[in-house]
Amino acid sequence: MLFNSVTYLLFLAAIAAGYWAIPSPYRRWLVLAASLVFYGFWRVEFVFLIAFSAYVDYYFSLRIYDEQRPRKRKFWLLSSLTINLGLLAYFKYTYFLLDNVSALGNALGQDWAYSPGTIILPLGISFYTFLSISYTLDVYRRLFDPIRNFGVYLTYVMFWPHMIAGPILRAHELIPQIVTAPRFKLDNVTDGMKKILTGLFLKVALADQLAPWVDEAFKASPASLGGLDVWTMAFAFGLQIYFDFAGYSLIAIGSALLLGVHFPENFNWPYLATSPRDFWKRWHITLSAWIRDYLYLPLCGARYRDSSEGGIDVETHGRRASFWHLTIALLVTWFIMGLWHGAGWKFALWGIWHAAIILAYRASSGLLPELPARMKIMIGWALTLPIVMLGWIPFRAESLQASLALLGRVIDISSYRGLAFRENFYLLVFIMTCGMLVAGLMARMKIPLLTRDWFRQVGEVLAMSVMIFAVFIFLRPVSQFIYFQF
């Protein structure tokens, strides 16, 4: 079910009303039933696949926990990981793998073309897999006692607000909230409604309005574009994916809040980041925290953490790893992070791009120690924003070749003379960028007038009425959320 639809809003209203109307012991069953229906609205048959996979994880986790012999525990852990990653590999990477085998065959003069038939990617499998892996690993690490009720476990996995595209929650963050039914609080309901409204506004009034421009721009032949066009495309898609995904996350968080369930925030004004490291503490926070705890820190040989907050932090808090060890761990992490987003080399390039800028940041962060802190922040932001935005080019371009061609236009100074798109495109991107930055700064600055209660309350009412106006006009499921494809 798409969040940006009338169906979902009615579904949510009905479930939330029913949830608070029935006795608490039955609530989690209602949530489970609603989650099955939510997923079934896409394709019913995949509900069984997810349920089967969940049962395997549930069973293996119990075996891991009950088993005392280390080798056996590792065996059950590896079995669980193999099944989870095997399913992900089959559904998500088969085409990619066979395409590369075929290309290699061509390069060697061999016919290695194989057809796997039609494979439909189950919605949310990447997120669901991460959820399952973290649960099994947490049980293995003895951070969490396994659930001994399959219904509860299935509810944790399939809880509809987070199942398709996150936020990615750890077992200890969500399961207790499901088991001990929360008490009704009006604050939660109003906060939830405000988050849903803001999320819908970001999605239908901003992301969906930018989408046709972005789509058209990325269809143009790179040779016909100039450097300024590519910069505009990078900023346009950077804004689109931010509005789209932050919108999704807010609707997810708000939906859970209507049921009294708290999710961590997933975005925190990422384009105000003052360094690449800071960016990943603000962008898709729960994913970067997951990558930190289950991939990066183990690769560094450092002690893991257990929180879906804080993003990727290069401080390892454990034994000191060598520079090369950390560098290789970072590159491997980002390479995998890139491929997790999509089965294509362009996504790997996007991952390596971020690894490279984090490395560059590490190498340069000690420079110019005499600069005032405020100046450092300004320079950091002014460098981070365009570099991160340009990184979206491989993420959105049609292929690796197109990505490289587009990035090539950026460094071709002679290409900056002409404009390839209608003037409105540049104007729209400029206005949206400025609007987002001003909104972000206003939310953080401590200007006396802005902190006054009456001012904030009037401002909030006006902002919400504008959002309701826009959502009413633009609400329609013209497009899926970008992260659904991952």
């Binding site: 079910m1 940006n4 639809s5 269809k219 006006l462 009425s465 959002m467 009413f472």
Partner: protein, 374 residues
Amino acid sequence: MKTTGSNALLRLVLAAVIALVSLYAYSRKDIRAEDLVLGKGNFHGFETWSGLVFTGSSVERISSVVKRHAAAPPLPDAKSRQFMAWFGNSQLHDINQFKEGDHLAPYWLRQMASCPDCLVPLGLSLPNANFQEFFLLSQFLSRNVPIRALLLEVVFDDLREDGLRDDFSQILSAELRGDVGRFPVGQEILDLFDSQSNKSAGTQENSGLDGFFQQRIEEALTKELGSIWPLWKYRSQLRGSLLTDLYWLRNWALNIKPTTIRKMIKPRYDKNMLALEAILSDFGRKGIPVVMYVAPIRQDHPLPYDVIQYNQWKEELETLAVSYSAKLVNLEKLVPNQMWGTSHEDNLDFMHFQGGGHKLLAEALFPIVLGVMK
């Protein structure tokens, strides 16, 4: 800001009330989309002859006009119909400050013929039509009607447009795709069209639900909601109004006027000129004469183009005409100043003239058309 849940709820309700009142007030605003596209005071028309419509100004109408004429019964007295196509933009189907007795240029041209039943100038026009669309229309026409000549209005401003509008899916059959795809530029046009039809944010209301079980439920719910709440049903008009207002706001904020210079967009320009070349080469190969005319434009104000680019374009047209043995006439100064539409600075119409202009245009083109059809 410390507030209780009930305060927060109150603010939310207040915001909803303000939004609803604004929506109802806004829905009373009457905006004609045509005023935005065509400028104020324009009459959008079509022409009939012996009960048969022979001009069309949308893909759907064009398709209908062409197919009806292809299936029309033969004329009595062993006379035969001679079809000619006349492609243009909204200049061809709009009359500024319409008066009784006014007609579109294709009507006058037909009336000038010694046998108006025999000469059928199919006036096929689309607002802001670009040459890529003309190319597709030319292939569509070739497949359906035996035309004797092609009259092509060329407007510099339309080269800023790109691709095919969505409506072309109505006529884009597999056969037509095959015809169009024979040309490199045709294949490029088709690829762009296909990719835009599959784009993530489509123009159809529920395109994000394609393949979802939810799609049917969403459609039913939306329909039901529209039947019980008229404002909900009116949302597409509200969207139109809002986008129109944003357009005016942009013009006001950036001081954009009809006389503001519109720069050429090079990649679009190049693709459109390639499409024009494909039309000329294809029709040249088929032995169908083509007459291109530089469309009339009002001369009492500086042109809203970069004059150097505009002149270079006209030179390029001349080169193309010579290369493909087409005829090129420059009619930019044909229509006198008093025959144009509104002329106050904020609403200066460079494209659409009054009824007299249509007659002048037909009179200027008639002998040329007769000449090439002999």
